[in-house]
């Protein structure tokens, strides 16, 4: 029997607040390496907060939280350069071109020019779009640029908040393909989405987030 590797994400009864509102009211979740976990649930349920907490952005008010072996209660900054978070915002510099952005983010981990070019190619940005300023891109194109930055940064845990929004059908399939190959290459992916069709095509596991807590789907 193989020893069970420690989980990539291990949350036990976590409470997190936004101001005085308990965004997470006792959430527990375990995710193993290579999984693609889909977080489903209505708006305001706490999916975004859960992702931000795993990225070390939201302080843990109560409970225990370990991500990639780092204790988030003790120090939530340690986990940060190994995690990639793509929220509602893209984290891009609108005045710079696509290539500039990906190169900048890749450079934060010392990525080579080849890796950057590879990231652009994987997201279908290498041809016409590489030299276009981000401000002139459509929402879907910006999202792809943001994902390319994630690839360039070699993140081990991908936290994606509604990544399919703004993409057309082909774009969504592309995205699913990218995520599956990322997971196959050893990354772990958590996707928050309220699109039910994604479940079968993409995820290895689906969980429901309701009222700040995590449940297995009914």
């Amino acid at each position: 029997m193989e020893p069970v590797a420690s989980p990539v994400v291990d949350l036990v009864d976590v409470v997190a607040v936004l101001g005085s509102f308990p965004a997470l009211a006792g959430a527990s979740l375990t995710v193993q390496r290579g999984e693609i976990v889909l977080l489903q649930g209505p708006n305001g349920a706490g999916k975004t907060s859960l992702l931000r907490l795993c990225a070390g952005l939201l302080p843990v008010e109560r409970g225990a939280a370990h991500v990639l072996g780092c204790d988030l209660v003790a120090d939530r900054t340690a986990v940060r350069n190994r995690v990639g978070l793509l929220g509602h915002a893209n984290g891009l510099y609108a005045d710079l071109t696509v290539a500039d952005n990906v190169r900048f983010w890749g450079a934060t981990v010392g990525a080579s020019d080849d890796e950057v070019a590879g990231a652009l190619r994987r997201m279908g940005l290498a041809e016409r779009l590489a030299t276009v300023p981000v401000s002139r891109l459509s929402a879907g194109q910006r999202r792809r640029t943001a994902l390319a930055c994630l690839v360039a940064r070699r993140a081990e845990l991908w936290l994606l908040d509604e990544p399919h929004a703004g993409l057309d059908a082909a774009g969504r399939d592309d995205l699913d393909h990218t995520l599956r190959s990322a997971a196959a290459a050893g990354a772990t992916v958590m996707v928050a989405s309220h699109e039910l069709e994604r479940a079968g095509a993409l995820a290895t596991r689906v969980v429901e987030v309701v009222a700040g807590q995590v449940q297995a789907p009914s």
């Binding site: 409470v15 607040v17 101001g19 005085s20 509102f21 308990p22 009211a25 006792g26 302080p59 008010e61 309701v210 009222a211 700040g212 807590q213 449940q215």
Partner: protein, 227 residues
């Protein structure tokens, strides 16, 4: 008990300050404002020092505790009040004694600078977030303010070197006047301690109310699932 001491101290101050101590030769009755001005100034700087030290205690991991943050905040609130009193009383005294409301000497200007800095500090304390975030942000800001004060003080001092550094000890203060001054210092210090203690307690209750509010909100949120 402390409250009584404060009241007693103030009664004593009023007695000596307004009645028993003599008029100054040159300043006449105007010198009595000093009995408020000097203690206020002393208090303002004491409060400032306490905020700085408490902030440092908060930032050091070994002694980290929200109590230091609350003391820093309470002290800053009281300090702002007394800085205001210092500036106004100093201004009035200057008007009576030398005929001007304001002089650009380093002490007065530094106090005015501190006053504005503290208003900014209190604004930052109100920015929201968790108690720990508030504490960390304010503590850093307070320590930066501590670093700035000598810079401001010296730049103003060098700026107007020819300006007379009028000192409170100009002329002679008779024994009774010095004594009244001392009474003032003591009663104001007692007042400061009393105010900070009580204000700190209010802040602690506020924080606890936030927490209890959290428990209630948690309960409510969990019940959403049942529904």
């Amino acid at each position: 008990m402390l409250g009584f001491a404060v009241l007693a101290g103030f009664a004593w101050l009023v007695l000596f300050g307004l009645f028993l101590s003599p008029n100054d030769q040159t300043q006449k009755t105007g010198v009595r404002i000093l009995y408020i001005h000097v203690p206020s100034a002393w208090l303002a700087y004491l409060a400032f020092g306490v905020t700085g030290i408490s902030s440092a205690f908060y930032l050091v991991k070994r002694t980290r505790s929200l109590v230091w943050d609350r003391i820093a905040g309470a002290s800053a609130e009281v300090g702002v009040l007394f800085m205001g009193i210092t500036l106004v009383s100093g201004s009035l005294w200057g008007r009576i004694t030398w005929g001007t409301f304001w002089t650009w000497d380093s002490r007065l200007t530094t106090t005015a600078f501190l006053f504005v800095t503290y208003i900014g500090y209190l604004a930052v304390r109100d920015l929201g977030g968790t108690h720990q975030q508030r504490a960390r942000r304010s503590a850093v800001l307070a320590l930066l303010a501590v670093c700035e004060v000598p810079l401001v003080h010296f730049s103003v001092k060098w700026w107007r070197p020819l300006h007379q550094q009028e000192s409170v000890a100009d002329g002679e203060l008779s024994g009774l006047m010095l004594f009244s001054l001392f009474v003032g210092l003591i009663s104001f210090t007692l007042l400061y301690v009393w105010l900070v203690m009580h204000r700190q307690r209010v802040l602690a209750l506020n924080d606890r109310a936030d927490d209890r509010g959290l428990d209630a909100a948690l309960l409510e949120r969990r019940n959403e699932v049942v529904r």
